[in-house]
Symmetry: C2
Subunit: 553 residues, 2 copies
Amino acid sequence: MKIALAQLNYHIGNFEQNTEKIIQAIHHAEEAGADVIVFSELSVCGYPPQDLLEQADFIQSTEKAVATIAGTCTRIAAVIGAPVLNENQRGKKLFNAALWLQDGKVSFVQHKTLLPTYDVFDEYRYFEPNRTFEVIQFRGHTIALSICEDLWDHQPVENSFARNSLYTISPAEELAKLNPDLLINIAASPYSYNQGDKRKNILINNSRQHQLPIVYVNQVGGNTELIFDGGSMVLNRNGEIVHEMPLFEEAIQFIELDNIHHSPSKASTAETEDLRLKNMHQALLLGLKDYFFKSGFNKATLGLSGGIDSALTLAIAAEALGSENINVLLMPSQFSSGHSIQDAKDLAEKLNISYQILPIHEAYQSLLNTLQPIFQDLPFGLAEENLQARIRGTLLMALSNKLGYLLLNTSNKSEAAVGYGTLYGDMNGALSVLGDVYKTDVFKMSRWINRNQEIIPWNTINKPPSAELRPDQKDSDSLPNYDLLDAILFRFIELKQSASELIREGFDAEIVNRVIRLVNLNEHKRFQAPPVLRVSSKAFGMGRRMPIVAKYS
Amino acid sequence: MKIALAQLNYHIGNFEQNTEKIIQAIHHAEEAGADVIVFSELSVCGYPPQDLLEQADFIQSTEKAVATIAGTCTRIAAVIGAPVLNENQRGKKLFNAALWLQDGKVSFVQHKTLLPTYDVFDEYRYFEPNRTFEVIQFRGHTIALSICEDLWDHQPVENSFARNSLYTISPAEELAKLNPDLLINIAASPYSYNQGDKRKNILINNSRQHQLPIVYVNQVGGNTELIFDGGSMVLNRNGEIVHEMPLFEEAIQFIELDNIHHSPSKASTAETEDLRLKNMHQALLLGLKDYFFKSGFNKATLGLSGGIDSALTLAIAAEALGSENINVLLMPSQFSSGHSIQDAKDLAEKLNISYQILPIHEAYQSLLNTLQPIFQDLPFGLAEENLQARIRGTLLMALSNKLGYLLLNTSNKSEAAVGYGTLYGDMNGALSVLGDVYKTDVFKMSRWINRNQEIIPWNTINKPPSAELRPDQKDSDSLPNYDLLDAILFRFIELKQSASELIREGFDAEIVNRVIRLVNLNEHKRFQAPPVLRVSSKAFGMGRRMPIVAKYS
């Protein structure tokens, strides 16, 4: 049996385009002689549709699209993902379903059993969990269908307080009892740089435990915060990965089921630091590109300070959108160092980006004049620093509004974590490109981009970070060094370690408590931050929901 | 048996204060001769604790607090709410539990069965659902415990696509089989102005169906977006409400269980429009007050435009925080009408609020000069309008940063819905006071506030709304009149009706499609809006989760 794996990029709510894309793939697979083609989870409507699932017309459009797609499956079968109505009077309105299309109609439906409701996932908000299991007979094979989390009843976790087994049932175990000779899993599994081989290991364990080949098809593409990386694969019954599809790009590939049993196991390639940076960079490119193109935009602006965050953001944006679609502002103040302006110009010229220099002295002075009745003769402080950042934010938005460029936010995750940024100032932007990238990784990725030639000025990479909002300011005046800061932040945010655990691990108590206090105190700022391209297992945004008003210990 | 109902206001994560408050109430009830005192859901840690539940030390602090509280229950029993660890190796880490404290220890635990995971609720994100039911024998009575949603297995819904029965089990039915003579329900049920007697009817139906008296204890207080209104009550076995506690305030009250069976049914008082406005106003006061005091702030600022939204916000803030804690800015531009400044001054003086006038002409001109290389000789447009709003936002934040006043956002729900506001401008603020109040209700509430005397200048209420960002601008230039707009918005947002349903109801197709398009197009703006005090069944914020990048039909 020849199986096509369709790893495609869907647009949420764009039924016309998704349907056309799916039908084209079906025709392509049919011409290639495939028996069945497998798409990914909720492929018909896009994933995650969020509260659009509560709108009757969204579900009606899905149903129409499913019928259209089914109509083309006359000589080939297809597995697609779609929400379907729960016919029972009790329980949630919908199931998250894998539909088997054959003979021009939906001939079998498998509902999703395990509904991820943690981190960025809200599936029990919409879906009733499945409780019954069946298999399909198709051209001499017995096939079991499952959906993404259905194989994740047992998963490794990174902190001692979290659970390995979030569910009380194992769908793979239930399906295995029905003696299938193939398990298909359709997925919408987002990328995260720090989860390494977690997904592969889950698939390997399932395959080995149940002695079943697995065809795993993941979607690819960015949907606001989430970036899906593809990486669809096929495993034989020994848990050996016999076929791997590319990361971060669409592809349709074929496998012959009868040939995979004796395939040699591929040596698992340990992810090198180089590959980690390459993948994270690819993820950001895809996330940025899809945010723009799926929203109907193609032009971006940002404030280029001469610092490393805006430099890296620009390098990524230029690659994603084309340098001709970018127009940046240099907005020096009296606190800007000469090298900053020169570094910013160097980068813009190297990348062939058009830029304008709008000094902010005059506007700053004029706002200070306006504020004289408030500020009086109070000493220079945070208010004056924020004022500069807000003038810059306002100039960038003026350009954005006047010329139709979307503003890219240039904050990194370390800053976002400790609130080192000005709300309505440098926190502005339609999208935060680096908001899930720690400062230490900003440095590493910048060096990685320069691996063959200097793209980001070495001077930008090597000089000590500064916000340049007061004379001779350095980040290190108010923050621990970034190696230490990021080590604490990663353990507190991604690994959810407590202060006492961190201190037991040997971190300085005073610094740990100060950093955690800063993270907690700045929930109100992050509440109003732009959407962040998520590349880790725990990004700020929809995946991390903390109360603003609370007493944090 | 004498039962104390403790309707209290908790602070999330403030274990010390919550514990002290609970213990004081226990002593008070003991002195009053009560047999048992009932607190509300998750009273020990505060509700909703959100992702704090994923932190080991948060759960450890809860456990310590529970032990301390239990230690005081030697002559009286108490029912408190807390997260407890799931001892099984499979399933979510925690249960949401009602704990029966007696003889100095936790003597019985009832886990929550129905975990609301819709709108603002995320309970399945954290908790494993209960599957077993038991009752307690106490001083000659058989008592069943349940938690909030446990009684909501059947609930009325406002749109035809939603479900009445979100769950496949009825905990009240299961408990009723065990023949209790009392059902206690501890709740954290937020206020919404458009749900009328929904909660009462749920309780009445449960009581009647199972012929059981119900003691229902709800919490009170604001927690960021959510406002809990209290209104705890007691029903006899005939479903008659025999005792009702106040709305929006803490109280400890007593009932004698043996006396309620023959109490006359209270006549249900239909909510008048006057009462609806009064309650909504009370809710906003409480939400604002708790946002400030629980965060450790007590001073507020806002931009007073002479329009009705900022006037109403100021009137509410002055009542909540005291006029001496407020300092507002009047920021006229060349487009401000004379009456606006006069109306703003009148209001500030009437409420005894200190204010400063900071004209924005100079700053506006200076920013236009700075932007000359971008704007060149392009015609006046949206960018110039937004620029004025952003200058004002920047001035307000400068005051906030310099003097420590929290900025209140003054946008209403109609504006927030259609994106009639400037991101990083008038959308600024720590908290949106009116973001869940439609413009038509802003008018009604302002008139209600003026019911005895003119507080908000009648001129502010009666003049046509205008943003005053260009000459002779009126809201009605670009939006349908507010009666029509709000009618469409309410049906689309709260009732989740589709465009086609609205058109079938008789609304003009072109207007309906335009309004819905505006709502959908502005998801990106609302993503960065401040937290909104929620007073309806569907507020913008955590309860409404729409993708930014999607094709909306």
